[in-house]
Amino acid sequence: MSQPSQAPAPLLQVSDLKRYFDVKNSLLSGKSGHLRAVDGVTFNVTAGETLGLVGESGCGKSTLGRVVSRLLPATDGEILFEGRDIIDIDRKALLALRADIQSVFQDPSASLNPRMTAFNLIAEPLVIQKIGTRASRRDKVLDLLETVGLRREFADRYPHEFSGGQRQRIGIARALALDPKLLILDEPVSALDVSIQAQIINLLEDLQKRLDLTYLFISHDLSVVQHVADRVAVMYMGQIVELADNEAFYANPQHPYSIALLSALPLPDPTIARKRILLEGDLPDPANLPQGCRFQSRCAHVTDRCRVGPEPEMQEISPGHIARCHNLADIHAPIEQKQTA
């Protein structure tokens, strides 16, 4: 991507990142192979922005988030944070990095130790990183409770005594305790009631503005991502297949997979209906990918070229808008049809 020279260096630069899991194909044959959960992913995140990462269940979003936050080792590739490599670092540097990159997990009832109070949960990162005195930590934790919209009096309660939304607020407060720069939000609202989702999203947007945070926002909900993200990356079977600014992506998706995903979204003007494109065909076995394009089995625009190697490369459609498809030139976003109702 060509960037103007005066643009600030991205906070996070990920290039050709891979994460494979070893899998036994079958107990009988004993054959083992790789499951390419993340398979050559490249993207940047600029300080202050929200990059939305969308894709179906199992496409590798969480794995990507975990590798970037150094919770899982990378198989191959490069991750730079503030311009510095974070894969090959010693323990001390890793501990410091942990303060800069924090995560919020999907299910707050699973990510909060059920036997710790809200206070101890939020204080734990400070204790681990040996930040402050007992008294200063106490003040910080109580402030954080208020920051995320919880009352100070809740500090001594256990997770099961909170509602789902309140629990996620504790998860967010904990992630903020170390004053991180980048938050990996792994489906932070997916486990919550729809009525609570908006509250948590508003909280996250508000925090981003006030605390200068950068978000990698993982979700399978395209309308949530449309609401929060500055840029959108679409993931399919371990790869990013399209990456674009929010407006460009939602107005003019390029990859057949993106087009299909978006066709399920209601348009703001209810008199206009999109042609719904159903994704048919089977997902390939992630441990045994076909030759050619990974999307061929479900693609409406598949050609012979897609069925033979090599895989399509990323192509630039317009500045900052890239997609991975052989047939971009022949594909148009579904024609919006005026309904005569």
Partner: protein, 294 residues
């Protein structure tokens, strides 16, 4: 920092998920009965020095094998004329002390091994698990006897022997719970804050294994009482003049026909205490950790 306007309402999730342990135990009458038996045994062990009991070792040749209800001896006397009531209290104290100490030793060693092998996996797990398998390959009692043959008989050695035999029980249970808890999201979250292994092991995994551990310990105490009594019965545990329920049972055995109470009473005490721990353990398991049901 300022407060976000949208304060969540103070409403709180129902606490029913955490109905008090006692409330749940109370529903299970059998385990309540077990709890009463255990309390009774513990009371005997603790209160022995404070009650106006006769000297348990005072020999009285003039009233040997006195029956239950004999004047001055509520539960009669044994073959040396010692007061059985007093000896039941003092002997229970030894039996319980040895069993509890042995259980604690086995619990600490087994928990540590289980945590380490279930968490680190790899060769650490291989070495520990194979060691545990070797311990388990010996017949339970033979292993205890082997240890005593090496160390010599006695209270302390007997205790160590039955502790060693019970290490695998704890190691296996805790390894299992560690294997599942190590994948928990809160462990991942702790890692993401920079937590070291010991913090993850003790603050997160062990803390969440506590219910399992409480249940396992209670059930194990039942085994231990049988094992301690059996060793003493064989003369390999407590050495005279000290005696526990096991030695009382052994010495009373010779007078089974003429003075059956001298062996029935300690035997009954052992039986009821073991029953108490097992019933209580079952109730705790159902209340705290239903997954442990085999």
């Amino acid at each position: 920092m300022t407060t976000v306007s949208s304060l969540d309402s103070g409403a709180v999730a129902p606490v029913s998920a955490r109905e008090s342990l006692f409330a749940r135990l109370k529903k299970n009458r059998l385990s309540l009965f077990g709890g009463v038996l255990v309390l009774l045994a513990v009371f005997m062990a603790i209160s022995a020095p404070f009650l106006p009991l006769q000297d348990p070792d005072a020999v009285d040749a003039s009233s040997r094998l006195a029956p239950i209800g004999a004047p001055g001896h509520l539960l009669g006397t044994d073959e040396l004329g010692r007061d059985i009531l007093s000896r039941m209290f003092w002997g229970g104290r030894i039996t319980l002390l040895v069993s509890i100490a042995a259980t604690l030793i086995a619990m600490i060693a087994g928990t540590f091994l289980g945590l380490v092998s279930g968490y680190f996996l790899g060769w650490t797990d291989t070495v520990i698990s194979r060691g545990i398998d070797v311990l388990m390959a010996f017949p339970y009692f033979l292993l205890a006897l082997t240890v005593i043959a090496i160390l010599g008989p006695g209270l302390l050695n007997g205790m160590l022997a039955i502790a060693l035999v019970n290490v695998p029980f704890f190691a296996r249970i805790i390894r299992g719970s560690t294997l599942s808890l190590r994948e928990a999201d809160y462990v991942l979250a702790a890692k993401g804050m920079g937590a070291g292994h010991s913090r993850i092991l003790f603050r997160h995994i062990l803390l969440n294994s506590l219910p399992t551990l409480v249940v396992a310990t209670t059930i194990n105490l039942g085994f231990m009482i049988t094992a301690a009594a059996a060793l003493s019965f064989l003369g390999l545990g407590v050495q005279p003049p000290t005696s526990d329920w096991g030695t009382m049972l052994a010495s009373g055995r010779q007078y089974l026909s003429s003075a059956p109470h001298t062996s029935y009473l300690p035997g009954l005490a052992i039986f009821l205490t073991v029953l108490g721990f097992n019933l209580l353990g079952d109730g705790l398991r159902d209340a705290l950790d239903p997954r442990m049901r085999d």
